[in-house]
Symmetry: C2
Subunit: 138 residues, 2 copies
């Protein structure tokens, strides 16, 4: 169990107040968030700073980007089971058509996808849309 400071240092990222706050914000959310979500949570901070902080996290494999088809990029913390740098170890994402939230289904790996001869698969993005557990279970 390492602290956030230790995590950032291990990735060669300077520890700043802003980064700690943004990391904590992401850590306490169990859904993927947009830049606007972060912006609303930190109205004092500048959009650009938030944008670049998230980009830095992304480069260092602290968060991963999610394209859930809404047209707005979302971000979520990479967790223990999420080896984003390994392209074959991608989990799927679920987008709820009801509450519009997107979650990582980390435990559900993407099955091997066959592509026609001549095509070389390097990466797979799989988004399942439907009704999430919170919205269906009432």
């Amino acid at each position: 169990m390492q602290t956030i400071e230790e995590l950032l240092e291990s990735k060669n990222i300077r520890v700043t107040a802003m980064r700690l706050l943004i990391y904590k914000f992401l850590a306490e959310k169990d859904v993927a968030v947009t830049l606007s979500d972060i912006e609303n949570a930190f109205e004092k901070a500048d959009r650009t700073t938030l944008y670049r902080t998230v980009k830095t996290f992304e480069e260092k494999d602290i968060v991963h980007q999610i394209d859930d088809g809404t047209g707005i990029t979302k971000y979520a913390l990479c967790e223990k089971g999420c080896n984003c740098e390994i392209e074959t170890d991608l989990h799927l994402h679920f987008h709820c058509n009801n509450c519009k939230e997107t979650v990582c289904l980390t435990e559900h790996k993407i099955p091997q996808i066959k592509v026609p001869d001549g095509f070389v698969s390097e990466n797979v993005n799989l988004v399942v849309k439907g009704i999430c557990d919170k919205c269906s279970g009432q």
Copy 2:
């Protein structure tokens, strides 16, 4: 074998010169196109008209929208094997990291994706990225 006019009429869309031209343009492309692509092909026409024409086609299941992760919406004609209105009959899309083009792999159906209890799957979007046949086969 029906004409384009008959197709449009069967979908209750008025046959106009613009729509015929745009349909033909889409029909002769074997890759998904952006609105800008269409715009470049029809410089005389207004962007809005092209936009709304494609939207109309989309509503009537003549074209389907593709989100290949580039952030730019692409469109492709629904073909015989493409029953877009039937959610369980979705094919996958392939985006080439080399030539940046996106194609529909209509013959490759998406395998059944299991989701956790409580989640209800209604729709699946699968984009495979890599190198396409044209770019790999030289």
